[in-house]
Amino acid sequence: MSHLLEVKDLEVKFALRFGELTAIDGVSFTLDKRDRLGIVGESGAGKSVTGFAIINLLSKPGYISAGKILFEGQELNRLPEEEMRKIRGNRISMIFQDPMMTLNPVLTISTQMVETVLAHQDVSKADALDIALEKLKKVYIPSPEKRLSQYPHECSGGMRQRIVVAIALLTNPSLIIADEPSTALDVTIQAEIMDLLLELCETGDMGLILITHDLAVVSQVTEKVAVMYAGKIVETGSTEAVIHYPKHPYTQGLIKALPGSLQPGSRLNQIPGMMPTLTDIPRGCAFHPRCTISDTVCQMEVPALISVGDHDRMIACHMVGKTIP
């Protein structure tokens, strides 16, 4: 059976003067049509690098050192840049935290949208403009005709991100990768952007990879989730199961650290220490120095991501089944 996207044993390294650093270390997951996958974890976990690797857009010293990325039957990591350009921004669209990564400040919204359509579709300029208008309506931009003639700086942050979503839709992609799309926005606007992504995935045929540090956002929008720590997936499964019954000590710690679930004023559950930097990733399980249930095996051996119990739940922890219920 072929998936929309299959990431297999992905490894990303950064070639630096003093040697190579491994940023992504054996990440695998699949995504089917209409799937919504969340990638969560704290900063430095490797979420963005994973996203950039999929679209072959790693910035300079970074490169895919092992593994495969299969998208609609093509092996993306082997495609020449020229071919890749036909996929990126076309079959796969990206939405970033900062809308200005996508928007050009000196071009009107209409120019940018029309250019994007013309780059990938063989249509007239007038038709391209119609498509642009249709997509702006699809993301509920008020008076879309007026917006078309505006420049990005004339729009608010929330409106810009909405326009970026409209641009992402121009080519009817089958996959959208959204990297912290609402992190910089106020909560009422964040809720609107999330509504929009959810609606678009439910009514269209797209798959969505939502990269975020926010577990609450993930639990609202996605049905599958992968929790990353220090370049690896440490837990994955259905979002509901992972959020309600986290099994990896790191996932458990993250969820328990949130203020929401506790008696107001009580001490929050903190995870001691911090995420390691790439230069000093601990031996064995990278989480072991912060883990409350670690054993000697954790300091020696890297735990594999293995299936446990429920059908699609996988966890990378030596102690699963021993001390974790």
Partner: protein
């Protein structure tokens, strides 16, 4: 509200910024005549509140609503255009720098970005010792050293690292250092402006625990500014909700989260994603936040409100106190419509 016992009281505080620029920028042609036009950002508009000793007042609202400006005005970092600020019933907004000095020791601030607030060329030791010397000229060098070591211990920064510079620390550690700097002078009142917004969840919990512990041990009073409502719910005793430089609702925390009364508060709370809950309907507001340069007439929220009527457009609502203890500025509530 103007409680006699409040540690800090703010009365009708107004802070506007003139952003007209130079004279040439201000000139415009209107009906064939040259006129000079000033542009002001109306950041804080007629805010009154009081904070009781040992209380934590959470101040929430979306970006640009005036939270940081309010914080800075309270600490005397921005002179207010009008209004009064009282600390222990003494008026402090009109003091000379010299007379303000003792209050600058009692009132400290913690910022969102500790990197910007710490001097990059100063070691941690120097950073922490400086305010102690400044506020206590007669103190001996040994006493300062002890004080600094004690506070470092308290905030969980190893005193052995005292000779390092800010860039050698992680974001979480730097925030601990800036908390230490606020604590070294034994303050009574701390304004924390988004103190954990730049930090990861696991580190956030560490810093929030530290703030709660310090409050418990030292009997501190906090004004906590944040856009994260779950944090406010967890550690504040009461909450002020701001919109376009005004307080639209001020209530005991439990009351605010259980029965928000102002239409804006209701929309805000409904938009907060909750972990483990599928996306539910949230209140969708009309339009967008107007700029604080041209404030709307009447209720500043009227253009986005689902319950607006003529009175809302014409007349600014007063902050009224309800039996529940909630104070709310909304004609709909006052008229019994909401």
């Amino acid at each position: 509200m103007q409680n006699r016992n409040g540690l800090l009281k703010i009365k009708n505080l107004v802070k506007h910024f003139d952003i007209s620029g130079g004279l040439l920028d201000q000139l415009a042609i209107e009906k064939g005549r040259i006129v000079r036009r000033r542009t002001t950002v109306k950041a804080v508009n007629d805010v009154s509140l009081s904070i009781m000793p040992r209380e934590t007042l959470g101040v929430v609202g979306e970006s640009g609503c005036g939270k940081s400006t309010l914080a800075r005005a309270v600490l005397g970092l921005y002179p207010p255009n009008s209004g009064e600020i009282y600390y222990q019933n003494k008026r402090i907004d009109n003091l000379t720098p010299h007379k303000m000095l003792p209050y600058r020791k009692k009132m400290q601030m913690i910022f969102q970005d500790p990197y910007a607030s710490l001097n990059p060329r100063m070691t941690v030791k120097k950073t922490l010792e400086e305010p102690v010397f400044f506020h206590n000229k007669s103190i001996t060098a040994t006493q300062v050293k002890e004080k600094v070591a004690e506070v470092m211990q308290q905030v969980g920064v190893d005193p052995q690292w005292a000779d390092r510079y800010p860039h050698e620390f992680s974001g979480g550690q730097r925030q601990r250092i800036s908390i230490a700097r606020a604590l070294t002078v034994d303050p009574e009142f701390i304004v924390a402006d988004e103190p954990v917004s730049a930090l990861d969840v696991s580190i956030q919990a560490q810093i929030l625990n530290l703030l709660m512990e310090a409050q418990e041990k030292r009997g501190l009073t906090y004004m906590l500014i944040t856009h994260d409502l779950s944090i406010v719910q967890h550690i504040s005793t009461s909450v002020a909700v701001m919109y376009l430089g005004k307080i639209c609702e001020l209530a005991p925390t439990k009351e605010l989260f259980e029965s928000p009364r102002h239409p804006y508060t209701q929309a805000l709370l409904s938009a907060v994603p909750e972990i483990g809950r599928k996306k539910t309907e949230h209140v969708k507001l009309k339009g967008e936040v107007p700029t604080p340069i041209n404030l709307p007439s009447g209720c500043v929220f009227h253009g986005r409100c689902l319950y607006v009527n003529d009175r809302c457009i014409d007349e600014p609502p007063r902050l009224i106190r309800l039996d529940s203890g909630t104070q709310v500025a909304c004609h709909g509530v006052e008229d019994g419509r909401l």
